[in-house]
């Protein structure tokens, strides 16, 4: 690294034998000295507020989520006492909703992640094949849902899914198919919410992957053309292997988003996870127990559970795609 470190230079300069004891006589040295003080003050003036913020909004919540999970902390009472593993035991023995929430969340992830990843890889490839004019148009269109408010999107889909007057049922009707319950049907609701999540994000991931595809050396494709490779072979043998790390990134992001699925279900079921408990997901259960029931201790324990699930799944995904080319980043 050629990057020079400003403060690092100064001590060596002032420690040189010539400067010893004659600092007063050399104004230039004084200037440096003064400058170093200014630099220190500058660094401190930025780092101190940053660290205060970091302490309150990052460090403290991380520490507190762990501490609370071992206590009976409750919003209504300022005091709490240490209850050991009680909250964790409660999680697996005394909460009938948690297994359902876990199952629903995992199902949502299974619906969301493969579909999102496959759609975004295909779309990225499609975008890459377009002339730049069309590419710009399609990027605009497919990227659009990801900039819109998730709450607004949820409401739009609520209307599309409407059992009696929704557009989707109207279209099914026009094709002679029976009307579906969608978000009112216990068996379809979760899939419907997964569709909202996929619809709103896959274009975003596609644009990330497009940047990666555009970074591939075109001579590879030219060589493949000479060898008579067809489009499919080029896609699977060149494109996919070369953007593997980026696909992994999309995979991990989609997984995290899947586990955190919350907004559409919260808005459209008003936090109830209806019909029945068919759309009660982990994030909603945490909010319900922690905010509505004020049971901070228990909600913290569940937050930690969710955090560790996400961490473990991300690590597994990275390990699975690791073997050959460990990613090197500066």
């Amino acid at each position: 690294m050629s990057e020079a470190k400003l403060l690092a230079k100064e001590p060596t300069a002032s420690k040189s034998p010539a400067s010893k004891g004659q600092r007063r006589k050399v104004p230039f040295k004084e200037l440096i000295h003064q400058r170093q003080f200014k630099r220190r003050a500058f660094v401190a003036s930025i780092l101190i507020p940053l660290l205060v913020w970091f302490f309150i909004f990052m460090f403290l919540p991380i520490v507190m989520v762990v501490i609370y999970s071992f206590t009976n902390a409750h919003m209504a009472y300022p005091d709490y006492k240490f209850v050991g593993l009680h909250q964790y035991i409660k999680m697996f023995t005394a909460d009938p909703i948690l297994p359902i929430a876990l199952r629903n969340t995992v199902m949502a992830v299974l619906y969301i992640v493969p579909t999102t990843v496959i759609l975004s890889v295909l779309l990225a490839n499609g975008l890459n094949a377009m002339t730049s004019k069309w590419q710009k148009f399609y990027t605009f269109v497919y990227f659009l849902p990801s900039v819109l408010s998730a709450v607004a999107i949820s409401l739009v889909w609520k209307w599309l899914y409407h059992q009696n007057y929704g557009l989707i049922n109207a279209m099914l009707g026009a094709l002679g198919l029976p009307a579906q319950g969608f978000i009112n049907s216990a068996s379809q609701a979760l899939i419907c919410y997964a569709v909202i999540q996929i619809w709103s994000i896959f274009g975003y991931y596609a644009v990330i992957l497009l940047a990666a595809i555009q970074g591939i050396d075109p001579s590879l494709y030219e060589a493949a053309d000479i060898d008579g490779a067809n489009g499919m072979e080029k896609f699977f043998k060149i494109t996919v292997p070369l953007i593997k790390q980026n696909i992994l990134f999309v995979c991990i992001m989609a997984t995290i988003n899947g586990f955190m699925i919350f907004t559409p279900i919260q808005v459209l079921t008003e936090g109830k996870g209806t019909p029945g408990t068919s759309t009660m997901v982990l994030m909603m259960h945490i909010m319900k127990r922690g905010i509505n029931n004020s049971d901070i201790g228990y909600a913290s324990a569940m937050s930690l559970l969710l955090m560790s699930i996400i961490l473990v799944v991300s690590v597994i995904q990275s390990l699975l795609t690791r073997e050959r080319k460990p990613k090197k980043r500066s």
């Binding site: 309150i56 069309w134 008003e270 945490i286």
Partner: protein, 282 residues
């Protein structure tokens, strides 16, 4: 497509046209919900309930938009959302740029350790920390104030990381030259360094603005007073009260989404750059 540009260097075989058609069909699935939102917002209640539905309103019903303002303090929510988002963006960009600059160009004890500690925190899904954060804010007495909608957004670790990457590419000579010319450290930063990273800062602005404008979970938890609701929370509350009136809901959703769509159309390049930085850079 008619004028095939030589510089495009793309062969237009059958596959290309198949792809084009598939992409067009995909485009419909993306655009139809948005189109349907706008069209429905202009229909009367009776026309909404018409089967088969009409694809263009028989009679434009702009009163739906007026009704949104009657049903909820939409202007107030708009003000809350936009003002907090703007403040959070400005603060976020400056804290990111300043701390990125310090981490890139200044040497101090524990710099690397501190930086990687911050990076490690980026890995934690922040939404899972909402419960303790809420408790802390209750302890501070910040809930139901503007503080809770702004201060937690003031620092963005990802933005810091990004800015540091860009700052590292700036030759240190510029900083030294500015110092010799007698610039103060802050002056050096604002008149020499910051203008050099302006494109990255612009992209970061969009990222931060969207993150704040669209954020739902934290304002939902931390604010109970209707005076402090932001648009997503207000919209969600309206859905609880008047959820069956889809004309009203669609008018509200259109008003929330429209400014973003317009800005996105005007500054597509910046948007895409700003929102995908995470994927490309990180």
């Amino acid at each position: 497509m008619k004028e095939k540009n030589l510089s495009e260097k793309k062969k237009h075989g059958a596959g290309y046209y198949v792809a084009l058609v598939v992409m067009l069909v995909g485009t419909l699935t993306v655009l139809v919900p948005i189109y349907w939102m706008v069209v429905s917002s202009l229909k009367s209640q009776t026309e909404l309930m018409q089967m088969p539905p009409t694809f263009w309103p028989q009679k434009m019903e702009f009163s739906n938009y007026a009704r949104v303002f009657e049903q909820m303090p939409f202007g107030r929510y708009y003000f809350n959302s936009v003002v907090t988002a703007l403040l959070n963006t400005v603060m976020g960009v400056f804290t990111s740029a300043l701390s990125g600059y310090v981490f890139a160009k200044y040497q101090f004890k524990g710099r690397e350790l501190l930086f990687w500690l911050l990076m490690a925190c980026m890995m934690i899904p922040y939404d899972t920390l909402m419960i303790p954060l809420y408790r802390i804010m209750v302890g501070f007495g910040w809930t139901n104030t503007y503080l809770v909608l702004t201060v937690p957004y003031f620092v963005n670790i990802f933005g810091m990381f990004l800015m540091r990457q860009f700052m590292q590419d700036i030759p240190t000579d510029y900083i030294e030259a500015a110092e010799i010319d007698g610039c103060s450290q802050y002056r050096t930063f604002f008149s020499v360094i910051f203008p050099m990273v302006r494109p990255a800062a612009a992209a970061l602005c969009i990222f931060l603005f969207m993150a704040s404008y669209n954020s739902f979970l934290w304002p939902l938890i931390s604010v109970n007073s209707r005076d402090l609701f932001t648009l997503p929370v207000g919209m969600s509350a309206l859905n609880s009260d008047r959820g069956s009136q889809m004309d009203l809901m669609m008018a509200c959703a259109t008003m929330v989404v429209a400014p973003v769509c317009v800005i996105f159309a005007l500054a597509q390049k910046n948007f895409v750059a700003g929102l995908t930085m995470g994927g490309v850079k990180g």
